[in-house]
């Protein structure tokens, strides 16, 4: 579905590389987590896929076609994008926000309206209640649901997500993560999700690519990463959620022992 071949990106004419020699493939229907610290090149990598950035060298293929040879705007309209800061248009209603891409693609108006209703329901927002509201009248979680609905409105096969749940409170974030994962499975979406939260990546991704200083250090399934981290940096990243999970287990065990004594 997506293939990156030796992609490099430099912002200073080749002195340093924000992305250096990155190659990977994402299969159809797969959710790839792209994880690393800020400045590791993960967002630049994501933006090169829909040509928000131009690679300095290397090739990117989407469905076997080189993105360089496609009109950038057409390409972007066919790829869903969920933004880090949500990026809803404050002067558009929820419905207008969601309909933007189908309208850019000049769908017939009735199809646009129908699709708007369908995707709002998909992300758990009742159209009757929310369609005419403005973003400023929504909670953060509701806003990001609209962001997801907008990305899915034009029925893309591929969705790019740039730290989509980063700005949300933990409970809302967990809800949205689960819901999005089930939507992704249901629609068989191919997704690349940039995140710096290893727990999020472990819970949502089919495979995870760990990036550091512009390079992909390891790419594999959550189990592979947990069991066989190939690099000290990857081990360090994996360590934290693992420790937390172990600690939670201990607490739960202790609790159940206490409960047994009381019985």
């Amino acid at each position: 579905m997506i293939e990156l071949q030796n992609v490099r990106k430099s912002y200073d004419g080749g002195k340093t590389f924000a992305v250096s020699d990155v190659s990977f493939r994402v299969r159809r229907g797969e959710l790839l987590g792209l994880i690393g610290e800020s400045g590791c090149g993960k967002t630049s990598t994501l933006k090169m896929i829909n040509r928000l950035e131009q690679p300095s060298s290397g090739e990117i293929l989407v469905n076997g076609e080189n993105v360089r040879q496609q009109n950038a705007e057409q390409l972007r309209r066919n790829i869903g994008y969920v933004f880090q800061g949500i990026g809803l248009f404050p002067h558009y209603t929820v419905a207008e926000n969601v309909c933007t891409v189908p309208e850019l693609l000049a769908w017939p108006p009735s199809a646009v309206l129908e699709r708007c209703r369908v995707v709002l329901e998909l992300v758990g927002l009742a159209p009757a209640q929310f369609a005419d509201r403005f973003p400023s009248q929504l909670s953060g979680g509701q806003q990001q649901r609209v962001g997801v609905a907008r990305a899915l409105a034009a029925q893309p096969e591929l969705v790019l997500m740039d730290e989509p749940f980063g700005a949300l409170d933990p409970i809302t974030r967990a809800d949205l993560q689960e819901e999005f994962k089930s939507i992704q499975r249901q629609l068989e979406l191919t997704v690349i999700m940039v995140t710096h939260d290893m727990t999020e990546a472990l819970l949502m991704a089919d495979r995870i690519a760990v990036m550091n200083q512009g390079k992909v250090l390891q790419i594999g399934s959550p189990t592979e990463l947990l069991n066989a981290p190939s690099d000290p940096y990857v081990r360090k990243l994996i360590e934290m959620p693992k420790r937390r999970a172990d600690r939670l287990d201990q607490i739960l065990d202790a609790d159940s022992h206490r409960a047994e004594r009381h019985d």
């Binding site: 829909n50 928000l52 705007e73 057409q74 390409l75 972007r76 309209r77 066919n78 994008y81 933004f83 880090q84 800061g85 949500i86 990026g87 809803l88 248009f89 404050p90 002067h91 558009y92 209603t93 933007t100 891409v101 850019l104 005419d132 403005f134 973003p135 400023s136 009248q137 907008r150 990305a151």
Partner: protein, 507 residues
Amino acid sequence: MTENLAEQLALLPEYFRGHLALTLIALVIGMVISIPLGVWAAQAPRVKRPLLTLVSIIQTFPSVAILALVVAMLGGRIGSLPAIIALVLYSMLPIVRNTVTGLENVAEEVVTAARGIGMSTRQILTKVRIPLALPVIIAGIRTAAVWTVGLATLSTLVGASSFGNYIFTGLQTRNLLAVTVGSLAAACMAVILDSLIGGIQWLAANRNTGAQTARYRAVKVLIMIGLTSVLVVSGYSLLPDRKVDLVIGGKGFTEQYIVAGAVEEVLQEAGFTTEQRLGLGSEVVFQATANNTIDVYLEYSGTVWSNLMNREDNPGREAVMSEVEAYLAAEHGMANLARLGFQNLYALAMRREQAERLGIRSISDLKPFAEGLVAGGDLEFFGRPEWISLRDTYRIDFAEKLTFDTTLMYTAIAEEQVDVIAAYTTDGRVAEFDLVILEDPLNAIPPYDGFLAVSGDAMDNRLFVETLSALAGKISDEVMRNANRLVDVENRPVTDGVRYIREALTE
């Protein structure tokens, strides 16, 4: 008072029409030019800096200077066109600046999102950046509107009717009621436009949160009503003026208003339709006559002599007049149609009682007493060529020379604090304080003969030429002085001065 008020209010429709038309046309043209420039500048950093600097520099030019420059660039054309051009230039800064600021301040993440979902640069501009910048752009238009209403008062100086006619005429003829009416009218117009545009700005800013509230709908209805009324009224303002046969010009002081009024009455009685363009700058009225926009106005030989011909010598009153005539005809196709008889020049004046007691009629007679007398002048007189010439020609000097504000100078001579003052020969206060003007037998002061300067085109109109030629020699220094006195000293309306002159003309 009530008569004066009625007279002022009778002028309101014309001035209101003129003022509103100037303001709205200038504002609309200003928007049409400035918003696209602002949009361009916001996208092209190389354009932005020079453009903002340029519009800021325009703003620092004194507005009167801009008006004069525009008139000069249009080859002396006066009226609405130069006024509108100047107003448009002034409206540019707030609109361009706010457009740039508004577009630049649209949140980066929103613009990135628009790009990321596949909007083209043009779509991002029209669907996202401009709508989001709209409240800021409208705020710029609002600032420009208030400035334009204020500055439009200056259009009077280039011959376009506005509330400025009230203000400038009122200031020059000491008619404070007229000044008040003009200022209040301009202020009201500014407040109304400001509230209206402010309302639109509020609607634009609140359209995504307030659109469903009752308050929003109420404001919307009010704004619609307001806009409709402005449209209807401006439709009325923009109706073309009726064409008149002759245009009478004038500079901005009492004598000019009075003579223009008298000339207008004489012409109307001869069957012409006329209109007045008064309160113009000296240079502006001359240029406009040279290019046939104005047909006739009151000019002074000495003004042409020193300001336009750059002469400093003084070959005598007759010689100056005939050289001025030759110059006007040769260089500007203009003519002296009637030398009215009076001169408006600097002259020495004394209290009649003292002058008679000492037997002084001329400056030569004054000389033996001068070293024991105190002289008063306005703030510039003792530094002017007129005084240098007097001093050197008559070898005269005073015990003391004091400078005053003009009004205080007359008080000073009335209260015998000074003995001699430098007055204007036709100043009404010369009569008011019973002063005598001393003769200047050696022609030390260049002559300032009042004459009707006429455009080349108007000279081809025989009836016009005959009608005005008859005024030659009809207005003496004393008649002019008394007419000025009615307005300047007794606070009577200009029309009373005009009536006084007319009586002298028919004698």
